[in-house]
Assembly symmetry: C2
Homo-oligomer: 225 residues x 2
């Protein structure tokens, strides 16, 4: 059984005066609605856990009416840090869940093939993540606004979500995070702690994250396509 | 005097069966036309040198009729590598040029403020480049599709064009490239050879490059905005 954990508990602190970025609308439908629907309509997904902040739970409840989800879904409360939110989501999965698909609520453009491919790779290798190769010229700054050195981009990848794991693998990785009191920026970094390799799966389509208002035009463009 | 060198001599080898990417049209006007016009209409630019392939020179000549340029312009032939094309462009600048603005013809969305800011920074510090901070999580792969390590993105920037230089600085840097028979991916890398620091100037708006056909819809969207 495959459980999608959609992390929608971010504070949106980087958005200026626009309320929660997840509820910004494109064609009268909120960003998080697109995200949810993409997983709800995907044949490989069996259930969905949405990790949400308590104060916006009512908005999610009315969104559910709009979406009419086909798959079972549940809401759980977010935690202090992203990793706490992810954990709450995983713990809410059904007992017979063997694979978890962690996804940022703020990435509404994720395509079906990338979801399938990351699930497939995790079933085979234990852990996977959607990613794109870096194609731009990359420089390291001196910490201010001077270039300090050129960076070889040959093996650099930009990672996104979905991040997919066998459930036992991610539970073990999270235990290691606890034991080592590590702070990890993403769940693939937790896997490093237990020596679990993570497979990079190239995203088939642009899969940007709404972080600030200036990201919205591109996302709007992609969603309208 | 400020000279813009627009590098429009790329082979477009990565575009499939669509002819030259620079002449792909958005609203019946080619990508390279937008680029040229952005510099032609900019108050800080005094003249424009377009580096073009001989075989498409006639298309540029008819484009000039459409644009009715306000600034003096000239065409020079491209070289074997990008750095050769840039050099040909710089050598074609007027004698009283003190600052050169090198720009990819395939970046038609460049905004006026970024052009001004890069020129200002180069006048003050000798060299500058338009860039954006990396906001995604970055991983180094093992050369295949496994993550080998996490990369600290804190000081990583993705660089674009304009790249702006005091003319004496870039000429000296190019001489060093020759003497050391170095192959440089961009002109800021040439500056490293002579110990000239390069100032990173944050782009105010998205400034993507047309590399493949799949880049075109977003660029079309930006140009129509």
């Amino acid at each position: 059984m495959v459980t999608a954990v959609i992390v929608a508990a971010g504070s949106g602190a980087r958005m200026e005066g626009e309320g929660d970025k997840l509820f910004l609308e494109v064609n009268q439908f909120p960003v998080i609605g697109y995200t949810w629907r993409n997983f709800d309509r995907h044949p490989d997904i069996d259930e969905i856990v949405l990790v949400v902040r308590d104060d916006i739970l009512p908005r999610f409840e009315s969104l559910a009416h709009e979406i009419s989800p086909r798959k079972p879904y549940s809401f759980v409360a977010g935690g202090q840090e992203r990793q706490d939110s992810v954990r709450n989501g995983i713990e809410a999965a059904s007992d017979n869940c063997d694979t978890v698909v962690i996804h940022d609520g703020a990435r509404p453009c994720v395509d079906a093939e990338t979801i399938s491919n990351t699930i497939q790779a995790a079933k085979e290798h234990g852990a996977s993540v959607a990613a794109t190769k870096i194609v731009d010229t990359i420089k390291l700054s001196d910490g201010n606004t001077r270039i300090s050195q050129n960076v070889d981009r040959t093996h650099l990848w930009s990672v996104q979500t979905p991040q997919v794991f066998k459930i036992n693998t991610i539970l073990k990785a999270m235990e290691a995070v606890d034991e080592q009191r590590a702070s990890v920026t993403d769940d693939t970094a937790a896997c490093e702690l237990i020596g679990q390799s993570v497979t990079l799966v190239e995203s088939k389509k642009p899969n940007p994250k709404v972080t600030t208002n200036s990201d919205l035009p591109f996302i709007e463009f992609l969603l309208k396509e």
